[in-house]
């Protein structure tokens, strides 16, 4: 069934007609053209489609768009501050924590949420928190280093 909804994405309100079956991922990509959000597994198991909903990471492929009504949705595009990179993005580039980078938007958002919950996580806490985001290039060691750098950058803000 079609219905009218209002979605708040990256601080902008969108009035949209969606199908009940539309996933948040479909709406963000196909309708709002937010291409940092990527479908990969389709079953909420890999983290490529991660967005933040009220600050917490969710798999947008596994969430109906109608369920996101009334929530604050943030995609990687929402971290843009002009041409300057977010400090987590800076850390990822600096530590070469990206290769094919298809998973990178999901990781950056998950790290943002992690550091807001826990500004000084241990390596084990980082690994635990990020275990739902998969990187097939297996750049985990570099991502771990990037998170450590991001912790320092955050502390220095």
């Amino acid at each position: 069934m079609k219905r009218e909804i209002t979605l708040r994405v990256n601080k902008i309100e969108w009035k949209l007609t969606v199908d009940d079956a539309d996933t948040l991922l479909e709406v963000l990509r196909d309708r709002l053209k937010l291409y940092s959000v990527r479908e990969s597994c389709g079953v909420g198991a890999c983290g490529s489609c991660t967005v933040l909903m009220d600050g917490a990471p969710v798999s947008s492929c596994f969430l109906l768009a109608v369920r996101a009504v009334g929530k604050e949705i943030t995609t990687l595009e929402g971290l843009e501050q002009g041409e300057k990179l977010h400090y987590i993005q800076e850390a990822f580039v600096q530590e070469r924590a990206l290769q094919c980078a298809y998973c990178t938007p999901g990781f950056v958002l998950a790290v943002k949420s992690l550091l807001e919950e826990n500004p000084n996580p241990s390596d084990d806490e980082i690994k635990e928190y990020l275990s739902g985001n998969l990187c097939r290039c297996a750049g985990y060691e570099e991502i771990l280093r990037a998170v450590r750098v991001a912790i320092e950058k955050r502390a220095a803000l």
Binding site: A45, F92, V93, Q99, C100, A101, Y102, G139, E142
Partner: protein, 771 residues
């Protein structure tokens, strides 16, 4: 490397900024007006004759542009309904029969994805199930059901020219190597070891599944945007399949969301092309993850290996390698050949016999997977080498070092090896893990052990890379190359090489992404070949541009061109930096204006010597080698069979490292990826049905599976003809991980696991058998 400015520096990736912002272009982001979406109905049977297709209801659904079957394609004049790089055996859509569960049978193109999927539900297909060949060892037996009645060679690649037409067998390709007299050596041996090792099918799981967009433009030229590692091949294949002149096909590849071998050769391009041809609309097909699992796999391999020992040395080795290539050969024959000839290892063994069989079965087609089959053969030969050393009571590291080939010695193919740092790699691995340092006394249920593994891969030879370098009057340069940036960092590598050669800065070099309208032919982005082949091509092209600059400066300043060097955007007399001209001044002198360009093309085309089809002997079977070693320390829980990886050292000879950090990253991440493959990855088939084809059921290494410690070691044995001495790095770290882990398990608990993955169940079973 003296006097180099940017080669050898760990400069940053060129694509870091757009990628970290999620702005990198992927095929899935490209939309065209009126674009249609595709859904495909797949065979539920492993092997079945298609007896009836009724598509009327599907066609009648509003929004459906076309419902297409293979039988219809077969009737279209001028179109070959089959494609493939080794054999033209793979149908665009199944014509008379389906050859695996998941084989595409009917395709729908519709205004949106949901309509396309709804239409599929309305298509009726009747099948008559046929006996199927499920197991690779059964499939080679006489009387096995035949996957294909005939084998038709493709003739697309020079290195596959020897692939022959065949029939009445599931063996589509056999490689033979015969050196010395193995029978005599086995008869005279002190000990003979015979083992069978297996490694399972696995999936590449690129985070971006395959996706292709095809359309005919305003000139009726075919345009294809595709997530492919082989844009040049795609153009050739589409031209051959559809009879379209090559200059009327434009293939473009933006950034890839991972490849690892999955995105080689042709995949969705033939289907998208025919749908665009019929509908006259842009057509995009994006695989779901489940479809990705049904598209391409890593070869399952069964290796029978028999080794003779005389006076403590290996005197003979006989290898029978069975490659389960699935329903369509894809690149299986190349793997059976190139990896087949390395099956006895990087050792001096006077008598070698290899039979490497590429075998059809009714399963998902198998193709290249990071390492091109070499990890599977090393799994067998290194596991057995280790086993023998431990049985003989000799040090496993010394047992490998002693027969390991030195520079100039002959490989089993009769080829003298060059730039062959296998001994260095083994020694580095041993040193890193404190090999020989006695293990502290252990008791209880947690046992630690160390393992080393070693092996080599030969680069695909012959192959071809062409490149064009265009220098602008402001000193900036564009590089036209068909190498695909899929995460490996090729844009940085090529930029470094061109910047170094032209004496300009890294930032001044722009790499044009693959576009067959402008970027010259390249065989494939795979097999760790780009740094060497494309690196040489861009370097030679840049050198030709530089020679043109030098010519101008030489005549203006009245000096010999040979006395000139390029640096800091200038060409000047060696040692006299002020005596020279800037690029701008040179352009002004040559053209009288500033808006001009200087361009040059170069091709790197290493050749191989003839290989005797009966003996596998060749004066030169490959251009260069990738020696690899891995050291591992594990802790085995003897109650649960759980194996924890405590240390993993990934050692590879990459030749000169153009970008050391990127070489380290390749070695390290390839090792983590293959640790997951070794420990738990496996596609499980039951009577031809894949039962774990989604990421809920199929798992690969996540953060939680990381070894407690991991480190790469880059060994740099320069290659005389490599660009600045470089070879490559993409696969080297993948090659020796599995046996290193199994060898460490053996060291810890005294049992040998011969089948991958090294699951707790297998370790426990081996422990139980030991008791």
């Amino acid at each position: 490397m003296a006097n180099l400015n940017v080669v050898g520096q760990s400069v940053y990736r060129k694509d870091g900024n757009p990628k970290v912002r999620g702005r990198a272009l992927h095929v899935g982001n490209i939309e065209m007006p009126g674009m249609l979406h595709v859904a495909v109905l797949r065979s539920p049977y492993a092997h079945a004759r298609i007896t009836r297709i009724d598509k009327a209801k599907g066609e009648a659904l509003p929004g459906v542009a076309v419902v297409l079957t293979g039988a219809e394609i077969a009737k279209m004049p001028g179109i070959d309904p089959h494609f493939g790089p080794a054999f033209r055996d793979q149908p665009i859509l199944c014509v008379e029969k389906a050859c695996y569960a998941g084989d595409p049978v009917v395709a729908v193109a519709a205004v949106d994805q949901r309509t396309a999927e709804d239409a599929l539900q309305l298509v009726e297909v009747d099948y008559e199930a046929l006996p199927a060949a499920h197991d690779v060892l059964d499939a080679v037996k006489p009387g096995s059901p035949l996957v294909h009645e005939q084998h038709r060679p493709a003739k697309a690649f020079a290195d596959l020219a020897h692939v022959k037409a065949g029939q009445a067998s599931n063996i589509c390709y056999q490689f033979k190597l015969r050196l010395g007299d193995v029978d005599k050596a086995f008869a005279e041996a002190d000990r003979v070891f015979e083992d069978t090792f297996s490694s399972p099918p696995a999936q590449h799981v690129p985070m971006e599944p395959h996706v292709t967009l095809a359309y005919f433009d305003e000139h009726e030229r075919l345009n294809i945007w595709t997530a492919s590692q082989s844009p040049s091949y795609v153009r050739t294949e589409i031209s051959a399949t559809f009879g379209i002149p090559m200059n009327r096909i434009r293939v473009r590849v933006p950034y890839l969301g991972g490849g690892y071998g999955a995105k080689l050769y042709a995949k969705l391009e033939p289907l998208c092309t025919i749908l665009a041809l019929i509908t006259k609309k842009p057509v995009r097909y994006a695989l779901t993850r489940e479809e990705e699992f049904l598209t391409i796999t890593k070869h399952k391999v069964v290796s029978k290996i028999k080794t003779a020992i005389k006076n403590g040395a290996i005197t003979a080795r006989k290898c029978e390698v069975f490659w389960d290539t699935g329903a369509y050969a894809e690149i299986g024959p190349r793997i059976g050949h190139k990896s087949g000839y390395t099956s006895a290892g990087p050792y001096k063994i006077p008598n070698v016999w290899i039979d490497s069989y590429c075998v059809y079965t009714n399963k998902v087609p198998a193709g290249a997977f990071r390492g091109f089959g070499v990890p599977q053969v090393i799994w067998a030969y290194d596991s057995q080498t280790d086993l023998i050393a431990r049985e003989l009571g000799v040090d496993p590291v010394e047992f490998r070092l002693k027969p390991a080939l030195d520079e100039g010695e002959s490989f089993a193919t009769g080829t003298a090896v060059r730039s062959f740092g296998i001994k260095q790699a083994i020694r580095e691995a041993a040193k890193a893990i404190d090999w020989g340092k006695p293990q502290s006394p252990q008791s209880g249920t947690k046992r630690r052990g160390k393992g080393i593994a070693a092996g080599v891969k030969a680069v695909l030879t012959p192959s071809i890379s062409g490149a064009i370098v265009i220098l602008n009057a402001d000193g900036s340069a564009s590089v036209l190359s068909s190498t695909v940036e899929m995460g490996q960092g090729s844009e940085a590598t090529m930029s470094q090489i061109v910047a170094e050669e032209l004496g300009i800065s890294f930032e001044q070099v722009h790499i044009v992404q693959p576009d067959t309208d402008v970027t010259p032919y390249d065989t494939i982005t795979a097999g760790s070949r780009s740094t060497y082949h494309m690196g040489n091509a861009v370097r030679m092209a840049a050198a030709k541009v530089k020679a043109q600059l030098c010519e101008v400066v030489a005549s203006k300043l009245e000096v010999a061109p040979d006395d000139l060097v390029a640096g800091k955007g200038r060409v000047y007399v060696r040692g006299l930096e002020e005596r020279g001209m800037s690029v701008g001044e040179i352009f002004l002198a040559k053209f009288g204006s500033m808006g001009t360009t200087l361009a040059a093309e170069a091709v790197c085309q290493p050749t191989a010597a003839h290989m005797d089809p009966e003996t596998g002997q060749s004066e030169k079977c490959t251009e260069y080698w990738f020696p690899s070693a891995t050291a591992a320390e594990v802790e085995v829980d003897t109650e649960t069979g759980q194996v924890k990886v405590l240390q993993l050292w990934s050692v590879g000879d990459t030749g000169t490292a153009i970008n050391p950090r990127h070489c380290e990253q390749q070695l390290q991440s390839a090792a983590i990826m293959h640790m997951g493959l070794s420990m738990f990855e496996e596609m499980i088939f039951d009577q031809g049905q894949l039962i774990n084809g989604s990421l809920l059921d199929y798992q690969f290494a996540s953060f939680k599976d990381m070894p407690e410690f991991i480190k790469p070691i880059v060994v740099q044995v320069p290659h005389e003809e490599g660009p600045f001495g470089a070879k490559g790095a993409g696969e080297t770290g993948a090659l020796t991980v599995a046996p290193a882990l199994a060898n460490a398990i053996h060291d810890a608990v005294g049992v040998r696991v011969r089948d991958l993955p090294l699951t707790p169940e297998r370790v426990l079973r081996a422990l139980a058998e030991k008791k």
